[in-house]
């Protein structure tokens, strides 16, 4: 149903909510026995012993000053981000691997009030990494858009020469994909529909079981007079 293109979309806030299940390391400042929830079990917390908990738990503990969040390696080290950005720029074909929630996790950790900005090595590192991440996002976005633009010409070449064309979508994070979903899906639907119209249009509005009657049969049939107005 093309009429519900935008209702198929998750809101970014919902995506962020889902991303809060990602696991992060924390260094607790308090002691707490293990908690068993329906979907997950929080290990027992002991002061200064690092352990792995879901992000929502980490942020809640952080808010109460009950823990320090260990920033994930991909976000913590400037060198690693720089190398990643370099690879992302140099390779036009594929996307570099990042965790599928990288945008959401970074958004939560870098948030001003509720985030974990002070758990970075220093404020300079934090600002630098944030800028690098933003650059990385932009590079990936433009790469995606290029792939989408190629779609129309690709569709032609696939049909005419049997050439294969792929829009690289591996390692796309959830948020990036979600922002593109309506356009991508809608356009592909339309391309497909126009290509395979005989399967869709020809069956519309018709009881498909009734075969087209022959000319002669109709001529033999009595003419039904319609009542005049």
């Amino acid at each position: 149903m093309s009429s519900s293109l935008s209702s198929r979309l998750y809101t970014p806030d919902e995506m962020t909510f889902c991303a809060e299940d990602a696991l992060v390391d924390i260094v607790p400042r308090i002691a707490m026995p293990a908690c068993a929830f329906l979907s997950t079990t929080i290990p027992p917390l002991r002061p200064n012993i690092p352990c792995t908990v879901p992000l929502w738990m980490a942020l809640a503990l952080k808010k109460r000053h009950a823990a320090r969040i260990v920033i994930p390696a991909w976000l913590a080290s400037t060198e690693e981000l720089e190398a990643l950005l370099e690879r992302e720029r140099n390779d036009n074909k594929v996307f570099q691997h990042l965790t599928e929630h990288y945008l959401e996790v970074a958004h939560l950790l870098l948030a001003g009030t509720k985030g974990a900005r002070d758990d970075f090595a220093s404020m300079t590192v934090m600002h630098k990494n944030r800028d690098l991440l933003e650059k990385l996002r932009l590079v990936r976005e433009s790469k995606l858009n290029q792939g989408l633009e190629g779609l129309a010409t690709a569709w032609n070449s696939v049909k005419d020469e049997g050439e294969e064309f792929t829009v690289p979508l591996n390692n796309i994070s959830r948020m990036e994909l979600n922002a593109l979903r309506p356009l991508f899906q809608g356009a592909l639907d339309k391309f497909w529909k126009l290509e395979h119209a005989n399967n869709t249009a020809a069956t519309t509005n018709m009881p498909s079981a009734t075969p087209t009657p022959h000319q002669t049969e109709v001529e033999e049939a009595p003419v039904r007079r319609l009542r005049g107005r």
Binding site: M1, S2, S3, L5, S6, L9, T11, P12, D13, E14, T16, F17, H107, G112, T113, K114, G115, N145, L148, E149, L151, A152, T153, W155, N156, M175, N178, A179, L180, R181, P182, L183, G186, A187, K190, F191, K193, L194, E195, A197, N198, T200, A201, A202, T203, T204, N205, M206, T210, T212, P213, H214, Q215, V218, V223, R225, L226, R227, G228, R229
Partner: protein, 206 residues
């Protein structure tokens, strides 16, 4: 039947489509065609009817389906060949693609051919969408900084394109908005908050 619930597919059937009556129509001449001189239409009359009645007429071999010239004629293929992005398809028909698919589907059934791919009408529609898709994409995704550009594009888009365009813009807008806000806007509902505060009864009574 995948477009049974699709409102575009339904609305597209209200577009006019010319048919050639093989047997004529009795007593409905003025209703179908207000300019008709007689109320009985003789065989081989060319009339314009809404598309939804065409499959019924064609299935009974009462009419031959023609191409809506107002939509797909008048040098359209030349225009589309030159620059598909500049053609005002909406002025021709708000359901340009849907109607093309339906008309050529009906024609294919009438001629008993299986493939629509070579139908000039479908070729035209495909060419138009391929050309316009790129424009649509660029303008939808860069819409945030160039409001006026998007607004200028909108009138010439058909309903199907417009829907695609708006949903893409909406997604891009929501994403942009999310990136610029720090506080999550997802909150617990009032009922939940009231239950945890133990004030549910009071709020309900008030």
């Amino acid at each position: 039947m995948c477009d049974y619930y699709d409102k575009d597919a339904i609305l597209a059937t209200t577009e006019a489509c010319p048919v050639n009556l093989t047997h004529g129509l009795a007593a409905v001449g003025r209703y179908v065609d207000p300019c008709a001189s007689a109320n009985d239409l003789p065989p081989n009359t060319r009339v314009e009817v809404p598309f939804w009645i065409v499959p019924t007429l064609a299935a009974r071999a009462l009419a031959n389906v023609g191409t809506p010239r107002a939509v797909y004629g008048h040098g359209l293929s030349a225009d589309i060949g030159a620059d598909p992005g500049c053609v005002d398809l909406r002025a021709r028909s708000p359901y340009f693609y849907e109607l093309a698919m339906k008309v050529s589907g009906e024609k294919a059934r009438q001629d008993d051919t299986q493939t629509l791919a070579d139908d000039p009408l479908m070729k035209l529609a495909r060419l138009a969408f391929q050309g316009r898709y790129r424009d649509l994409l660029v303008k939808a995704l860069s819409g945030n900084c160039e409001q006026d550009k998007a607004v200028r594009t909108l009138p010439s888009l058909t309903s199907e394109e417009r829907e695609l365009f708006e949903s893409a813009r909406e997604a891009a807008r929501v994403y942009e908005q999310w990136r610029n806000t720090e506080e999550p806007r997802l909150r617990a509902s009032r009922t939940v908050t009231n239950v945890t505060r133990g004030t549910r009864k009071r709020s309900r009574g008030a």
